[in-house]
C-alpha cells in the first residue's frame, strides 16, 4: 500500500549560542493509511521535534538540513507557509500534551470549534451542528449546552476530549497525538486511550502516537518506532518489539518499564550514564557509551540500519549483516 507519511533521511539542526544542536539525524519513518504508529523514547530524544517537523511548526532557530517528508505523495519540506496551512487542520491534525493550556481561555468552545472550520463553506449553524456532534462522539454530556462554555468550565480530561474532537473535526488523514495523556491522572489516561481506540471506528485516518510510556504504546499501536538521542534505533510491529527487542536500548527500556517488573524490588532499575550532548556528538554509535554490549566497532563508526525481519529494522552492529 502507498505510505501516507514517508520520512526519509531527515536531519534537523537547532542554532543555539552553544553551537549547532543536531536534534534529529537521518530519521526514516513510514506511516501507512489506517495504522497507529507509536514513537517512544526518553525526554529529549527528539520525539517532539520530529512531530513539529511533520507539522511544519519547527521553532524559528531550527533548520531541516537533509532528507524529505512526503505526505500523501506530496513533498512537505520547503513547502510555502500558505500551502502548509492548507494541509494543517484539513489533512494533518494534532492533539497536544497539556489540555489545560491548549484551548484559548477567553473564547468559548463553540467559537473555537467553528473557527477551525473556516475553510468550509458551510453555514455557521451547520458548523455548530458538526461541532456538537463531535463533542458527543468524544463523550461530552449535554453538548448543545456545554459548547457555549469557556474552557475553564471543563476539567482536564474533558478538555483533552474537546481537543481531540477539534483535531478530528476536519477528518484528517493523519492525527498526531503528542503525549496526549501525560498531563492526566491514571484513570483519565485510561479513559482517553479507550476513547482513541473507540474513535478508530469513526475515523479512518492514521495516528502517530507519541509517548514515553511503552505500556500505552503496547495498548493501542500497530507498530512502534524507538528513538534515542535524535535517531531511530529500532522499528518493528508492536508484538515483535515486545517479544524480541533487538536493540540493547530497547531491551533496557523494557526492563525499566515499571509495569513489566515482576519481582519486588526497593529500587527501580535505570539505564546507567547520560544522553550524549547533541551539540558535540561522539564518534561511533550514539548509544555506545551506555551500552552494556558495546564493542570495538561501536566506538569507531556509526552503525547503519539493518533489517532483522520483515518490518523490523534496527540500528545496531549486533545485527550487522556486513
Amino acid at each position: 500500500m502507498e505510505p501516507l507519511l514517508d520520512i526519509r533521511d531527515l536531519s534537523v539542526e537547532f542554532a543555539t549560542p552553544r553551537g549547532k544542536v543536531k536534534a534529529l539525524r537521518r530519521i526514516d519513518l513510514t506511516v501507512r493509511p489506517g495504522r497507529i504508529v507509536g514513537i517512544v523514547g526518553e525526554s529529549g530524544c527528539g520525539k517532539s521535534t520530529l512531530v513539529s517537523a511533520v507539522m511544519g511548526l519547527l521553532a524559528g532557530n531550527a533548520q531541516v538540513t537533509s532528507g524529505s517528508i512526503a505526505f500523501e505523495g506530496r513533498q512537505l519540506r520547503d513547502l510555502p507557509e500558505p500551502a502548509w496551512r492548507d494541509i494543517r487542520g484539513r489533512r494533518l491534525a494534532m492533539v497536544f500534551q497539556d489540555p489545560m493550556t491548549s484551548l484559548n481561555p477567553v473564547i468559548s468552545i463553540a467559537t473555537q470549534m467553528i473557527d477551525i472550520q473556516h475553510r468550509d463553506d458551510a453555514s455557521r449553524g451547520d458548523k455548530l451542528k458538526k461541532a456538537i456532534a463531535w463533542l458527543a462522539k468524544v463523550g461530552i454530556a449535554d453538548p448543545e449546552q456545554r459548547i457555549e462554555d469557556y474552557p475553564h468550565r471543563f476539567s482536564g480530561g474533558m478538555r483533552q476530549r474537546i481537543a481531540i474532537a477539534m483535531a478530528l473535526l476536519m477528518n484528517p488523514a493523519l492525527l498526531i497525538a503528542d503525549e496526549p495523556t501525560t498531563a492526566l491522572d491514571v484513570t483519565l489516561e485510561a479513559q482517553i486511550i479507550h476513547l482513541i481506540k473507540q474513535l478508530r471506528s469513526e475515523f479512518d485516518g492514521a495516528i502517530l502516537f507519541v509517548s514515553h510510556n511503552l505500556g500505552l504504546i503496547a495498548e493501542i499501536c500497530d507498530e512502534v518506532v524507538v528513538m534515542y538521542a535524535g535517531e531511530v534505533v529500532e522499528h518493528a510491529e508492536i508484538r515483535r518489539l515486545f517479544h524480541s527487542p533487538s536493540h540493547p536500548y530497547t531491551q533496557l527500556l523494557l526492563t525499566c518499564d515499571p509495569a513489566r517488573i515482576e519481582s519486588e524490588e526497593r529500587t527501580l532499575p535505570t539505564i546507567g550514564g547520560t544522553v550524549p550532548d547533541l551539540a558535540h556528538l561522539p564518534g561511533g554509535c550514539i548509544f555506545a557509551a551506555r551500552c552494556p554490549e558495546a564493542f570495538e566497532r561501536c566506538r569507531a563508526e556509526a552503525p547503519g540500519t539493518y533489517r532483522v525481519a520483515d518490518g523490523h529494522s534496527v540500528r545496531c552492529f549486533l545485527h550487522a549483516d556486513d
Partner: protein, 294 residues
C-alpha cells in the same frame, strides 16, 4: 468519569463574565463612586446643549467678571461669558479629546504591539527601538515642539497624546503577544491550520484586550490632565473653545478678581481624574481572577 469531573461537567447557570465584573464593581464603594462620576460626566457631556444656561461663546465684555448669581451660576469670565456653560462644554471637549486620543493610541498600540510581538525579529527590534525613543522624549517637550510646528489645536493635542502613548500600549501588547505566541493553544491553533492573521485576531487579541481596556480607563484621566496642562500653558485648544485647562488658565490670570474661575476649571478636573482612577482601579480588581471575591 470521576466525581470531580462529573461535578464540573454539570452545566452551571449561564453567567456572563461581565455580570460578575459589574457585581464586583458595585460591591466596591470607591468603584461605585467612580462609576457615578463617570456616568454623570458622560450625561452632562451628551446633554450639554440642554444643560448649559447660556451660549458658551457669547461675548459680553461689559458684563465681565460678575459674581455667581441666579442668572450666571458660576459668574462670568473676563469677556463676560457664562462660566457654568463653559464648564459644561469643557467637559464635552475633555471627554471627546480623551476618548479619541485613548482609542486611537489603543488601536495603534495594539497593531504595532502585535506586529512587534508576532512579526519577524527585525521588525520587533525596530519597533522596540521606536517605542523606547518616543518614551525617552518628555511628553511636554514633545508637545512644545509639535505645537510650534503645527500650531495649537485639538488635532495637535490628540496627535501629541496618541504618539506619546502608543508605546505605552504597544509595549504591553508586545510582551503579552510574545508570551501568548508560545502558548500551546496558539500552537494548537496553528496545528489546526490557522494563519498569522487568524491567530492574531481570533486568539491573541481577545487575550490582550481585557487588560488593555483597564489600562485605557486609567489613561483617560492622564489624557484629560495633559490636555488641561497644555491648555494651561496656552498650548492647547485654540480660544475661544472652552476647556477646563483654558478656564483654569484664564482664572489664574484674574485670580485676584475672580477666584471662582480657578475653582470652576479645577474642580471638575479633579473630580473627573478621581472618578476615572477609582473606576479603573475597581475594574482592575474586578477582572483580577486572583482576588476571588463574590
Amino acid at each position: 468519569m470521576t466525581t470531580a469531573d462529573a461535578a464540573l461537567a454539570t452545566p452551571l447557570p449561564a453567567e456572563r463574565a461581565w455580570l460578575i465584573v459589574v457585581r464586583r464593581l458595585l460591591a466596591d464603594p470607591l468603584g461605585t463612586l467612580g462609576l457615578t462620576i463617570v456616568v454623570l460626566l458622560v450625561i452632562s457631556a451628551l446633554s450639554a446643549d440642554w444643560l448649559a444656561t447660556h451660549d458658551p461663546f457669547e461675548l459680553a465684555p461689559r458684563q465681565r467678571m460678575q459674581d455667581p448669581s441666579p442668572d450666571h451660576w458660576l459668574g462670568t469670565d473676563q469677556l463676560g461669558r457664562d462660566v457654568f456653560s463653559r464648564v459644561i462644554y469643557g467637559g464635552r471637549i475633555a471627554l471627546w479629546v480623551s476618548l479619541t486620543a485613548v482609542s486611537l493610541s489603543l488601536f495603534g498600540g495594539l497593531v504595532l504591539g502585535m506586529l512587534a510581538g508576532y512579526g519577524p525579529r527585525w521588525l520587533d527590534n525596530a519597533l522596540v527601538l521606536l517605542f523606547d525613543s518616543v518614551r525617552s522624549f518628555p511628553t511636554i517637550m514633545f508637545a512644545l515642539a509639535m505645537v510650534t510646528l503645527l500650531g495649537p489645536s485639538l488635532g495637535t493635542i490628540i496627535t501629541v497624546i496618541v504618539v506619546a502613548s502608543i508605546p505605552v500600549y504597544g509595549r504591553i501588547v508586545r510582551i503579552q503577544t510574545l508570551s501568548l505566541k508560545e502558548t500551546e493553544f496558539v500552537l494548537a491553533e496553528r496545528a489546526l491550520g490557522a494563519g498569522p492573521i487568524r491567530v492574531l485576531f481570533s486568539h491573541i487579541l481577545p487575550n490582550v484586550i481585557g487588560p488593555l481596556l483597564i489600562l485605557a480607563s486609567m489613561e483617560i484621566p492622564v489624557v484629560i490632565t495633559i490636555e488641561a496642562g497644555l491648555s494651561f500653558l496656552g498650548l492647547g485648544v485654540r480660544p475661544p473653545t472652552p476647556t477646563w485647562g483654558s478656564i483654569l488658565q484664564e482664572g489664574y490670570q484674574y485670580i485676584r478678581d475672580t477666584p471662582w474661575l480657578v475653582i470652576a476649571g479645577g474642580l471638575p478636573l479633579i473630580l473627573t481624574t478621581l472618578g476615572f482612577t477609582f473606576l479603573g482601579e475597581a475594574l482592575r480588581d474586578a477582572f483580577d481572577p486572583k482576588l476571588n471575591r463574590p
